[in-house]
Symmetry: C2
Subunit: 355 residues, 2 copies
Amino acid sequence: MYKVAFLPGDGIGQDLKEVVKLFRDKIEEKYGFSFELNELPIGGKAIDSFGDPLPPDTLKECKKSDAVFLIAVGGPKWDNNPPNLRPEAGLLKLRKSLNVFCNIRPIKLSKHLTHLSCLKCETVDKGLDIIILRELTEGLYFGEPRGIYTQPDGSKVAINTMSYSSTTIEKFAKIGFDLAMSRKKSLTSVDKANVLENSRLWREVVENLSKSYPEVKLDHLYVDNAALQMIYNPNQFDVIITENLFGDILSDEAAALVGSLGLLPSASIGDNKPFLYEPVHGSAPSIAGKNMANPIATIFSIALMLRLSFERNDIAFDLENAVEKTLEMGIGTADLKMKNTIGTREFANEVLKNL
Amino acid sequence: MYKVAFLPGDGIGQDLKEVVKLFRDKIEEKYGFSFELNELPIGGKAIDSFGDPLPPDTLKECKKSDAVFLIAVGGPKWDNNPPNLRPEAGLLKLRKSLNVFCNIRPIKLSKHLTHLSCLKCETVDKGLDIIILRELTEGLYFGEPRGIYTQPDGSKVAINTMSYSSTTIEKFAKIGFDLAMSRKKSLTSVDKANVLENSRLWREVVENLSKSYPEVKLDHLYVDNAALQMIYNPNQFDVIITENLFGDILSDEAAALVGSLGLLPSASIGDNKPFLYEPVHGSAPSIAGKNMANPIATIFSIALMLRLSFERNDIAFDLENAVEKTLEMGIGTADLKMKNTIGTREFANEVLKNL
Ligand SMILES: CC(C)[C@H](C(=O)O)[C@@H](O)C(=O)O
Ligand SMILES: CC(C)[C@H](C(=O)O)[C@@H](O)C(=O)O
């Protein structure tokens, strides 16, 4: 039986915890396929109990598991903590320690939800279906030296280092090319090669690798232009690869096109298991504990885990279909602005019925 | 008489050059106010003639002028040049040499052009009116060390340095607070303080400065969230301040909301004159020489120059009004998708008539 390190975390993480358990049980009942959920502390809750956003035991258990499923960390209570005692620090350390260098963010807008998009309907009338791959373990997030230094005259200087190795770029980009081959054979690499050496190396490695994928149409786009094109014409994109910070910004921008963060799952994969699964919505403190959180991102993240860590594409597909069928019925959580608004638990139950 | 270093540059820079001259003449005729246009080479054209995207003479003349007016640099011809022989290198060196640390980008969508916006009409039915201030002389663009290094095992590592000094942040942010005071007294500072020391210093300096502006409502937003909010609800913003690269990305994203880059001017100011004025659209090689380029960004950039370098807010205001009146007539260049499409020269002439 597969073992999942289960990190519900803070805010609506606690509301959605029950949803994960419901789906686990139903999957066991319907498919005879089961995984164990080993609940562990992370983020704000872990700071409160252990003074550490990623307690050593949590990390140890994660590393021994077949997959890690995290819901959300953070909240106003910990926002003014020193950097190393903030919930995000736990998340960043977890990503780095698991060495999950490729963050997969499908940006999918169902044709039943085009009313949600901030874009004009004609732009998105067939929905959206883009996958953004974001490198997750190098770049400005982790580069050294870093720090704030006081000068002799009392003024201060801050330093961060953006650093990328060709080895990481190559194995990351390879995932992009492989994914493009399984889809429309179109790959967009986003960089800022007109300014940054990091981007020049990025482009060089991606160009070289593209020789092994003669069928994939490769484009390079500057990040500023990508931010613009994402709005002008998002459907020109299929698979996008980019570095850590650009990916952070672009994937949130793309999420806005969809209209609700509550719909978007993510997976972070590396050379070795365990991989890490997280909905992208964050802890949403303002609706925590109110049975209002949209469970779709969580359900889609379960589907990604079934597909990428447990090789059960069949179940993943059924889950995604069950969500689609439920939306077709015109019901959804408040963020979806459907005819009928229902709660987290109620919506999850409808999806289970459609499974 | 004021002296303007005039750098039309490449691509549609050449189409729009005539527009600038027409407006110069008309302003002289109507207001008795005149400035001299001293045309100088930059960008691709300068590379072709002098092997340098910013020839020393151009820079020397710019520094002696009261203002610098640049239209656009770049084009496919020079895209594969080595970094220091690319048109952008000239632009970056010019900004750095003039020490124009504050790039002002008004994101304005006229109520006559809401059909252009990619956003749903209800979001932008009253148009848009945001000003993004982007720091222009520090950060990843200029930080040292930078380079690509080969490791003993043959792999490569790229390094860029993001660096900010509290002195620059402070004088830059001060412009933001002053601008906010002259508008809605609302200021949004965008950073990534949950990850970067640069952003922590940024936030600290901005917070300190805010004590001198008790009337200004200051918000901090992470850059990923800002990219998302810019789409969800752009009218929540009035004045935004941010560092160099974040500003590059966010201002292009905001430009996309407006629907045409051809509408957007910019000014870059510093402690001392000359300041630098540029439309944001770039050289648009595909429409160069076709009398198709939208002259509005250029006209608005002239208005900014009159306002910020020549203290002629009255003429600036008249220019902006003349554009608005012309749009009201239902005419515009192709990018504006109006009832009647006319050419660059013809549109410029209509604006002149409305002046
Ligand atoms: C919380 C933060 C550190 C994180 C990031 O920037 O990676 C978040 O924005 C994300 O995208 O998962
Ligand atoms: C051409 C490029 C170097 C430049 C920048 O990144 O600053 C451009 O994108 C801009 O915003 O003016």
